[in-house]
Amino acid sequence: MRQRKLLAFCAALTIVLANVASLAQQTLDRTKVPSPGPTPVLHVPAWTKTQLANGATLIVSERHVLPLVSFNITFVGGANQFEPVGRRGVAAMTASMLTEGTKTRTGDQISDALQLLGTTVGAGVGAEDGSIAFLSTAKNFDATLAILSDMMLNSTFPAEALERLRARTLVNLTQAKDQPVVVGAQVFAKVLYGAAHPYGQRATENSIKAVTRDDVVAFQQAYFQPGRAIITVVGDTTPQKAKASVEKALASWSKGGDKPSFDYPKLPELRPAKIYLVDKPGAAQSVVNIGLPGPPRNTPDYFALQVLNTILGGQFQSRLNANIREQKGYSYGVNSGFNYGKGPGAFRAGGSIFTAKTDAALIEFMKELKGIVGEKPITDEEIKTAKESLIQGLPQRFSSVSAISNAITSLVVQGLPDDYYQTYAQKVSAVTKEDLLRVAKRYIDLEHLAIVIVGDRALVEAALKATEIAPITMLDIEGNPVTASQ
C-alpha cells in the first residue's frame, strides 16, 4: 500500500514539477546515492516434467506474453562420450549433415520450407551434450517440429554432401589457425590435458579427412536416442498441447539409448608452473591463458567458486580487469572463469595484451592470483557486492523463452535439484570468507599453473624470461614442442 500511494503522489507531482523545476533543483543533493527500492520478488517459471513412452523426458513451461515457442531436444553426452578414436569432428559433421536431405525432402526443400516458416532448425553436438532446436511463432510450431523430426530421424546423408561439408570444414580449420585467440584456447587445452584426455583433443585435418559416410550414419544412429533426451518446450503453449504435438511429430522415435557415463581418464601428472610460448610473428597483441584443470560442475564448492571468481575476474570491476585494463591500460579486457562440466574443466585467467606489455601484464596476473589465494585478503565489501550481483542477476535467466529453456534444461543435464533457483540465493549467501580462502588455495594452485602465450616471440621472449616467473618452452600452433633449431 505504501508503494502505491507514493506513486500516485509522484504522478500528481510531475505535472507541477516542470514549472517549479529550478526551485526544486536547488535542494537536490547530487552526492546522495539514491537508495534502491524493495528487492523484487523472484518469480521462477513453473514447469511440468513427464516421461514419454520412448524414454525421453518432456519439460513444458508456459509463457504467454508473446506468441513464441522455443523447442529444444538436449542429449546428455557429447563428442567426448560418442566419438570413436581418431574421428574427432564426426559429431559436429553429423549435426551439420542433418540439413542435407531426408527420405522425402532434399536439402533445398528443407531450407525452402523453413524459410517460409520464417525460422531455422539448429543442430549441434558439443563436448558433453548436444541439441537440436528451433524458435518459432506459435502458429508455425507444429509445421516446424515436423521438419525437425524428419531431419533428426530420416536423414539420408548423401555422400557428395559429406564431401562438400568436409572441404568447408577443412577451410574453417585453416582459417582458425590465423586466429590467435583460437590458437591460444586450443594450445591451452592441449597443455593442460594432453592428447590422451578428451579435454585435450579436438577435430584436426587428419580426423576430418578420416571421417567416412559410415561413421556419420553410425554416429546418427547411436547418438540421437530418446533414452538420453530432454525435450524442453517453453512459451505460448500448454503441457497438454505440447505433449500432443511432440508425440505426434516424434511418433516413430522408438525407445533406445541411455545416459552415458562420464568416466574420464586420469589427468596427466601436474607439472611445475611453466610458460608455453607460441610464436606469432607480427602479432599486435599477446593472447594469454593461465590456469590448470579444475573441479566438475557437481563440486560442493560450486557456490564458493562462483563468488570467488566474481571477485577475481568475472566482472568489469573484478580485480584482474580493474588492475590490468583500467589501472594499467595493458589490455582491452581480461577475465577469469571456471569451465564447469562433467569432468575436470579448466580454471583460466587471461586476455589479449599489448605486445610491449606482455611481461608487465603477466607480473600483474601473478600478483592478482597470489592476492586472491591470501596475499591480498578478500574484503567484506567485495564479498557483499559479489553475492548481490549473483543473486540479483537471477531474474535475467528467465527473460526470454530461450533463456527459460536453457535455465530449466541445464538443471536436468547437470543433475541439479528442481528447486535450484528457489534456493540459489540462500546457497550464495551461505558462502563465508573462510570458504573463499579455502577454495582459492585449493583450485588456484600457483605451483602448477600453465601459462600459455601466443605472441611475437622476438618481442616478448626476453622480457618474459626476465620476469623469472617460470621457465619458457616453445610450442608450435598445434601445441607440439618446437625443436631448438627453429
Binding site: A21, L68, L170, A284, Q285, Q317, S352, T385, I391
Partner: protein
C-alpha cells in the same frame, strides 16, 4: 564498445527487415514520449514481464562529427564517460549496475553514441542519477590522467578488434577507398593510432560541451517500472541540466564512385578472401528496404542465389555473404566470398558477377521474395523479449526520424517491397562502379582477383601493427 565481444560496427549491421502480411497490424511497442524544456527527449515503455529495466541514452554524435586529424574521438569519448563524474566516484557506476546483477555498456557508430544500463527494477532511480550526472557534470572530474588511461584501453581495443584480427582492417580500407578524402564517413569509427595520441584534454572538453547536452540526447526507459514515478525521477535528475548550443549536422555528400577500384591487401592469413562493395544509400532512402531484401535473396539460406551457385552447385566457395549495410546518410552493398582451395579469387569474382547479372536481368521470383520476408515476424517478436532491444528500436526511430514508432513504418515498407523494386535496385546499384578488394596471404599478391590490375593498399599500412603508443 567499452567492453569486448561486439565490434564498434555492430550497430550498423542492424538485421535486415522482412515481413509477413497477417502480422503487420499487431506491430506495436506501446510507448509514450515527451521532451523536457532543456531539450532532452524521453521515451517510456512499460513491460512488467521480468523485474528488470533498461535505461538507454543515445547522443546524436558519432565518428562522422569528427574532423580529420582527430579521428576516433567520439569512441574515445565513449570510454571517458565511464570514468566517473562530478558526484559519482570512479567505479560506482559498475557497482550500481553489474554489482547488483545488471550490466552496462556503450557503443559508437558513425552516427551516434549510446550508453545503457540493464538493472533489477528497484535500481532504476540510481541508474537515472548516474546518467544525469555524467550528462551534466562529467567535466568536473575529467583530467589528463583519466584521458590517457582510456586512450591506452582504446588503443588495445583497436589492436584486438582490428590489427590482431585476420581480415580485421577491411572496414577501414573500404571507408578510405569508398569516400573522398575528408568525407565524414571516410575514416573508421575506432580512429587511427596517431589521432588517438593527439587528442588533448581541451579537445575532449569542447567535444563534450557541444555534443553531450540534453538537446542532443534521447533517453529510453523500458521494462518493469511505474511511469509516473520514473517521470518524477527524470525531472529530479535531468530537469535542471542546462540546454546546450544547437548542433550542426555535418553535410554528407552521397557516396559515389566515378570509376571502379581494384585493391589488394596482404594480411597475416592463409586463406584469401574476396570483397566487393558498391555505394548505395542510407537508412532514410526508400531503396534501403529493397536493398536489404536483395541481400537475403542473394545469401544466407542454402537456396539463396549466391550461396546455392557458389557453395552448393559449383562448390568453388566455402562461404558467401551479401548484405546492405546502411548508416544514417550513406550505405553500401557488400559481397564477401571465401574460396575453396584450388579456386582463385578471379574465378570467384566471375562467378559472383554471373549470378548478379542473371539476377539483374530476371529479378526475384515471387517465392524468393516471400522467403526473404517470412522471417520478419519472428525476428520482431524476438526483439520484443528484450528491454534493451526494444529501447534501441524506439531510439533509432526517435533519433534518426524523430519518430520512436518508425520501426513499424519500416516494417510496412519492407512488407511492401515488390519484385520490381528489387529488380530495379539490383540494376541501379549493382550495375555501378564498385570496389573489389582481395585480401591475400603475405607475399601472395598474385592470388588477388585480376592481380595485374589491382593496386596495393598502402595508405593505411603505416599506422598498423600497434607498434606506436
Amino acid at each position: 564498445m567499452r567492453r569486448r565481444n561486439l565490434s564498434v560496427f555492430a550497430a550498423l549491421l542492424i538485421a535486415c527487415c522482412v515481413a509477413q502480411t497477417a502480422f503487420a497490424q499487431q506491430l506495436k511497442i506501446p510507448y509514450e514520449t515527451y521532451k523536457l524544456p532543456n531539450g532532452l527527449t524521453v521515451i517510456m515503455s512499460v513491460d512488467r514481464t521480468t523485474p528488470t529495466v533498461a535505461v538507454n541514452i543515445w547522443y546524436h554524435v558519432g565518428s562522422k562529427n569528427e574532423t580529420p586529424g582527430r579521428t576516433g574521438f567520439a569512441h574515445l569519448f565513449e570510454h571517458v564517460m565511464f570514468t566517473g563524474s562530478g558526484h559519482v566516484p570512479y567505479g560506482l557506476h559498475d557497482k550500481l549496475t553489474e554489482g547488483v546483477g545488471g550490466g552496462n555498456n556503450g557503443s559508437t557508430t558513425n552516427d551516434r553514441t549510446n550508453y545503457y544500463e540493464t538493472i533489477p527494477s528497484n535500481y532504476l532511480e540510481s541508474a537515472l542519477w548516474l546518467e544525469a550526472d555524467r550528462m551534466g557534470f562529467l567535466l568536473d572530474t575529467l583530467n589528463i590522467e583519466k584521458l590517457n588511461a582510456q586512450r591506452d584501453v582504446v588503443k588495445n581495443e583497436r589492436r584486438q578488434s582490428y590489427d590482431n584480427q585476420p581480415y580485421g582492417r577491411v572496414s577501414e580500407i573500404f571507408a578510405a577507398a569508398m569516400y573522398p578524402k575528408g568525407h565524414p564517413y571516410s575514416w573508421p569509427v575506432i580512429g587511427s593510432m596517431t589521432d588517438l595520441s593527439a587528442a588533448s584534454e581541451e579537445d575532449v572538453k569542447a567535444f563534450f560541451r557541444l555534443y553531450y547536452a540534453p538537446n542532443n540526447a534521447t533517453m529510453a526507459i523500458v521494462g518493469d517500472f511505474d511511469p509516473a514515478q520514473a517521470k518524477a525521477w527524470v525531472q529530479k535528475y535531468f530537469g535542471d541540466l542546462p540546454k546546450g548550443q544547437p548542433v550542426q549536422r555535418p553535410t554528407v555528400p552521397a557516396a559515389k564512385l566515378e570509376a571502379g577500384k581494384r585493391l589488394v591487401y596482404e594480411d597475416r592469413v592463409q586463406v584469401p578472401r574476396l570483397y566487393l562493395q558498391w555505394p548505395t544509400v542510407g537508412v532514410k532512402n526508400a531503396d534501403d528496404a529493397p536493398l536489404s531484401v536483395m541481400g537475403l535473396i542473394l545469401s544466407g539460406a542454402r537456396t539463396a542465389r549466391l550461396t546455392k551457385a557458389l557453395v552448393y552447385d559449383s562448390q568453388i566457395a566455402s562461404q558467401v555473404a551479401a548484405f546492405q549495410n546502411s548508416a544514417e546518410d550513406v550505405g553500401v552493398f557488400q559481397v564477401i566470398v571465401v574460396p575453396r582451395p584450388e579456386h582463385t579469387l578471379t574465378e570467384l569474382e566471375a562467378a559472383v558477377d554471373q549470378v548478379i547479372q542473371k539476377f539483374i536481368t530476371e529479378g526475384p521470383t515471387a517465392e524468393e521474395l516471400q522467403k526473404a520476408k517470412s522471417g520478419l515476424e519472428l525476428n520482431f517478436l524476438r526483439g520484443l523479449e528484450s528491454n534493451l532491444g526494444k529501447a534501441n528500436q524506439l531510439l533509432d526511430g526517435a533519433v534518426f526520424y524523430n519518430n520512436p514508432g518508425q520501426f513499424s513504418v519500416d516494417y510496412q515498407k519492407t512488407l511492401a517491397v515488390s519484385a520490381a523494386d528489387v529488380k530495379r535496385v539490383a540494376s541501379t546499384y549493382l550495375g555501378r562502379p564498385r570496389i573489389v578488394l582481395s585480401v591475400v596471404p603475405k607475399g601472395k599478391k598474385n592470388q588477388a582477383s585480376k592481380a595485374a590490375e589491382s593496386e596495393t593498399v598502402t595508405m593505411l599500412m603505416k599506422q598498423g601493427r600497434g607498434g606506436r603508443s
